[in-house]
């Protein structure tokens, strides 16, 4: 069976060039970058080069990059690190209702520890408005965390405008750029953010490695204490191979970003158009401020996981905001925050395109989905023709 992968927002394959860049650091170049001898210096050099590359690609300085174990650690470090370091200045944090759980749950845990939290709502397209953020800010607000683009519905937030509002109030601003790194421009000066987190495995790099940008002058308590690595802000022997892979993947992504995005937008729109032909179907998220690769729809009267299983039986890999895929009872908090009812939110399907997809894939998917939807609706007690 032909397998078609359409879940690039969940993770991406590691590009061959990236694997090749990593391999020496599993082989002969295994030195600990903290060591003074040859092996150590060569690892250190690879690490320095990776740091230079990543910082350059996001418009930062090398000293402003902390390598992490991924997007979740980056968000946790940004949020808890700033909260702990500035708790004497204030204990109020602002975030949005559509953040990834790495952000939301960090913020909610801090709440349990005595911080105060305001969660800003979104509109029906999943958009955060700068005015709502402004309303939420207080004199004791120390940090605002709003994601760059949403991982479920692909809505791109007005980060620049929000950053301006936040800066005006003297709070720090973190953005979770896990879904946009390698896709959109994440120049930190342009965006005006103080902290930005990204993850390699979402941009054709390896799993288990990421980076956190921290603007010079912003203090952080470490999440992981210990050795003096990463300028004492993140202890632990560096994942040299992974970090080299991250830098290579980000570099490759930038080489043909514009062409690739244009190609993806075409495929995406073809897919969106085709899906809209299915009756009782709702497109989720903004059609204008949208990631080039994201399609998110709800098919009324059916449940997402049974959709996914049927797609899988036909070799199509996709994802859902269905409660059943996460083992919880509630469907996607993102779709609910956008005002969808539980019933409809349960029937969501996310298809996220990538480098390995082409028109034939889209056409195959558009041929299969209506059949599956029809079959499941036939089985549904909610559906009356």
């Amino acid at each position: 069976m032909n397998e078609i992968y359409m879940d690039h927002a969940a993770t991406t394959p590691v590009r061959q060039e990236v694997v090749e860049a990593m391999l020496p650091f599993f082989g002969s170049e295994y030195g600990n970058p903290s060591s003074v001898y040859g092996w150590g210096r060569r690892s250190r050099q690879a690490l320095d080069q990776a740091r230079d590359k990543v910082s350059e690609l996001i418009g930062a300085e090398a000293s402003e990059i902390i390598f992490t174990s991924g997007g979740s650690e980056g968000a946790n470090l940004a949020i808890k690190g700033v909260a702990w370091a500035y708790q004497t200045k204030g204990k109020h944090i602002v975030s949005s209702a559509v953040e990834h759980h790495a952000v939301l749950d960090s913020v909610l845990w801090l709440k349990k520890q005595g911080f105060e939290v305001t969660i800003v709502p979104v509109d029906e397209e999943g958009m955060v408005s700068p005015a709502e953020v402004e309303k939420a800010l207080r004199p004791d607000t120390i940090l605002v965390s709003i994601m760059h683009a949403n991982n479920e519905v692909g809505t791109i937030q007005p980060i620049k405008e929000i950053a301006e509002v936040v800066r005006g109030h003297g709070a720090f601003f973190h953005t979770d750029a896990v879904q946009t790194a390698g896709v959109l421009d994440i120049n930190v000066a342009e965006l005006g953010v103080d902290l930005l987190s990204l993850s390699a495995h979402k941009l054709y790099g390896p799993k288990g490695v990421g980076a956190l940008y921290v603007r010079k002058g912003v203090r952080l308590d470490p999440l992981i204490h210990g050795g003096a690595q990463e300028r004492r802000r993140r202890a632990g022997t560096e994942n040299v191979a992974g970090i080299v892979g991250l830098a290579k993947a980000l570099e490759l992504a930038h080489l043909d970003r514009d062409e690739e995005n244009a190609r993806l937008v075409k495929l995406r729109d073809r897919l969106l158009e085709g899906l809209q032909q299915i009756p009782h179907t709702k497109i989720n998220g903004s059609l204008v401020h949208r990631l080039p690769n994201n399609v998110n729809v709800c098919f009324q009267y059916i449940e997402g996981e049974s959709m996914l299983l049927n797609l899988d039986l036909r070799g199509i890999a996709a994802s859902s905001g269905s409660a059943c895929t996460s083992g919880s009872l509630d469907p996607s908090h993102v779709l609910l925050a956008m005002g969808l009812t539980h019933e409809i939110a349960h029937g969501s399907l996310r298809l996220t395109l990538g480098r390995d997809n082409n028109e034939a894939d889209i056409d195959f998917v558009l041929q299969e989905i209506p059949v599956i939807v029809e079959r499941l609706r036939e089985m549904s007690p909610l559906y009356q023709r």
């Binding site: 089985m379 007690p381 909610l382």
Partner: protein, 127 residues
């Protein structure tokens, strides 16, 4: 994640549909939680002679609905009433632990249908 037997019932669900002259109908779950099961039974001389279902829900919900129709058919209503969600899961060679509670409503749907049948019988004999 799912056993072969779950996938078999999911891909080839038995007894999907409605029974126009059913004498018992049970519905459990709600759309809020993402699972609704509706069961139609036809009972003759206390024996379930026909049974059909419609389900809105995940793979486990569909498979448990399907398998319980096979387990119930030919049984007396007293016997069928004894079927537990646990037995349904066992008949499917197990369910993932996260699915045990939220998506295994089949036994409850069957009980609801049998209760509905009994109510109908009582109403008919009273009239």
């Amino acid at each position: 994640m799912y056993s072969d037997k779950v996938m078999d019932h999911f891909t080839n669900p038995r007894n999907v549909g409605e029974i126009s002259d059913a004498n018992g109908i049970g519905e459990v779950g709600n759309a809020r939680c993402g699972d609704i099961m509706k069961l139609w039974i036809k009972v003759e001389d206390d024996v379930i002679t026909d049974i059909k279902f419609k389900t809105f829900g995940c793979g486990a919900a569909i498979a448990t609905s399907s398998v319980i129709t096979e387990m119930a058919i030919g049984k007396t209503i007293d016997e069928a009433e004894q079927i537990t969600n646990k037995q349904v899961a066992e008949e499917l060679h197990g369910l993932p632990s996260v699915k045990m509670h939220c998506s295994n409503l089949a036994a409850e749907a069957l009980v609801a249908a049998i209760e509905d049948y009994r109510k109908n019988v009582a109403a008919n004999s009273a009239s």
